[in-house]
Structures are given as C-alpha cells and as structure tokens.
C-alpha cells in the first residue's frame, strides 16, 4: 500500500509517501525511526495487521516546517529518512 501523509495548501504540496509493503519485511531494521531528527516515523499495526511505518499524526499537518531542516537548503545532500530506508519505501513530494 502506498500511504501518503501530508497536505496541500496555497504554498505547495507536502506529502511523504511510504510504500508499506516494503515495511512488512524491512531489511533496514526500521532505520527510519532513528534517522529522522524530528522522530516523525512510528511503527504501527495497520488495518490488515501488518507492522508498518507511518508519520505521526501530530506531524502530518506541519510537514513543510518539520522537514525544513533536512531539505537541501539546510545543507543535506540527501534526506536522512530516504537515505536510511534502503528498501526505498520513503519518498517526499517536494
């Protein structure tokens, strides 16, 4: 399942997509949990009883600000969450 967390507002589209099928047998040992400086990721049991990653609800409406410090303008070459998720399940829309 591709889960999109985030929102669209007047300034743009801010979505983080997680391919939760990749989470079920995560080969990166849930590295997303520790890679994010804001600790936005959490592991939950979804509606189909699979253990998958998701963005914490408190962060879903403030992604543009929460992710700002990891964006290229802040000096990162690659987003820490995307780099840590070696199966390639995490994508940012902006």
């Amino acid at each position: 399942m591709i889960a999109n967390y985030g929102y669209k507002d007047g300034s743009g589209e801010y979505y983080i997509s997680i391919d939760t099928d990749q989470c079920i047998s995560c080969s990166a040992a849930r590295a997303c949990l520790t890679a994010c400086p804001q600790q936005m990721f959490e592991i939950i049991s979804d509606d189909y009883d699979d253990e998958v990653a998701r963005i914490r609800q408190a962060n879903c409406r403030t992604l543009a600000y929460d992710c700002a410090e990891c964006k290229p303008a802040a000096g990162y070459g690659r987003l820490p969450c995307v780099a840590a998720c070696t199966p390639g399940a995490i994508r940012h829309a902006w």
Partner: protein, 299 residues
Amino acid sequence: MNAETLAPTLPEKKEFWRWQENVWVDDSRDWKSAGIVTCGIDVGSVSSQAVLMVDGQLYGFNSMRTGNNSPDSATHALAGVMEKCGMKLEDIHYVVGTGYGRVNVPFAHRALTEIACHARGANYMGGSGVRTILDMGGQDCKAIRCDERGKVTRFLMNDKCAAGTGRGMEVIADLMQIPIAELGPRSFDVDVEPAAVSSVCVVFAKSEALGLLKAGYTKNKVIAAYCQAMAERVVSLLERVGVEEDFFITGGIAKNPGIVRRIEKLLGIKAMESQVDSQIAGALGAALFAYTLMSKKAA
C-alpha cells in the same frame, strides 16, 4: 400593554444546513435466524452511522448527526437501528468502530481506520470492479485506490482544513439560505457556468461568496462557483493517487449532483450510481470487517 406584546417577533431561524437523517431496516429478513450478527459504527466529525449486518449481508442502518460527544453519538446511532428491529447489544457478535471518533466507541471490539472501511464498503456497494474511491467527509477528503477485494493499495488524506468537504457545503447552504439538498440541482440553473471561487477555504470562500452576491451574482451562480471550486480541489487529490475506473464516491457529498457532475466532467469519467445511501460506506465497511474477524474467531 406589557413588554411581551411590544417585543418584535423574530423570524424563526431555519437550519438550511440540516440534511436528512435516515433509519432503514430490511423487513424481508429475520435477524434472529442469522448465524453471525455484526455491526459497524462510523463516528465522523459531522455525521455518525451504525450498520447492522446479518451473515455478511446488509440488514439495517442509521445515519444521524454527530453531537458533541462521540461515545453518545455511537450509542444513539446504534440504538436507533436496534430499536427499529428489536435487537439488543448482546445480540451483536462483533462491533468495529471507525471514523474520526473510532477510539471513542465504548462497545467496539476493534477500531479500524475509515480509509480501509470506506474501501471495503465501496467494494460491497459498487462491486469488485471499484478501483478508485473518493470519500468526501464532513471535515476531510480521502482519495483511495483499492484492489478487487476492497483492500487499500494507495491512499491520500487531506485533513488540514474543512475546504472541499461537507462542512463547507453546510456553511454555504446557511449563507445562501437554501436547503442543502437543493444546492446541487440549483447549481445547474445558471446561464453561463461561472469561474470557480478562488478559495475553497470555508472562511475565505464565505466572504468571497458574499462579495459575489454584492457584485450582482445570483445565488445559483454563487453556488455553481463554489461547487466548481470544491470539484477542482478534490480532483487534484484524486489525480495525485491516480484515477482508474470504476470510480465510486462515498460520503454525504456524493448526494450533491452539483459536485458529482463537475468532478465527472473534470476527470472525464462517470462515478458509479449507488443503490444504498453513500453516507454509510464507512460503517458498512466496518461491519464487513467485523464479519470477517468474527468468522475467523468462530472457525
């Protein structure tokens, strides 16, 4: 002459936003002879629904407005349909809660997200060919893709504000002083289709609509402009997840042809017609999940 006779009589304040609440039970069937009775409760931000299923088939439902207390709303929604068929809570084998207030359903055995439940409900209502679902709820919109079993394969939820949702339409109904059920048909009664209002934010759109009225727009034209804006907003969500036929719309807005026809025009595809109240899709999906979970438990 006393003060009471001198007091001006104010016109009665009508609730133009108030939509039709529904209770329905399939009288041709008898739940007492059923093997498994399950229930789905969808406590949304604006409306609450309770759906009863007997042996995996829709038996009855109640759709009503959510009050200021989620546990009470869940209890009243279920009591309404149980009263109509003479059922008691102990007769129900499994209850699944869903929606915004799902964790506040006191008698639920399990809580599931409305995303999974709407997909499952749409799959039941529209058949296994349904691939794209748009749930236009009271205060959020969800674009969902699912497989032939109604399992979610992709979703997007926009819950940052009430723009493009049922609540926005209620506000416009009150502003225009037109019953909410008439907004859709009246939005087509215009000479020329107006441009969409530039903002779908409920607060800004309300002031923009007032400005258009002052500028000489008819009420119907303002409604058409707002319907177009809502359609454009949800279509942008749908395009992000991708649209594949069959396309099904759930939630209260599915009853508004002014929005539905405009969405269809923008997407270039027709939405499926539903024989069942589109507002109960979430609770129906929850009842189906309850049936599956109970069947597994019983096996």
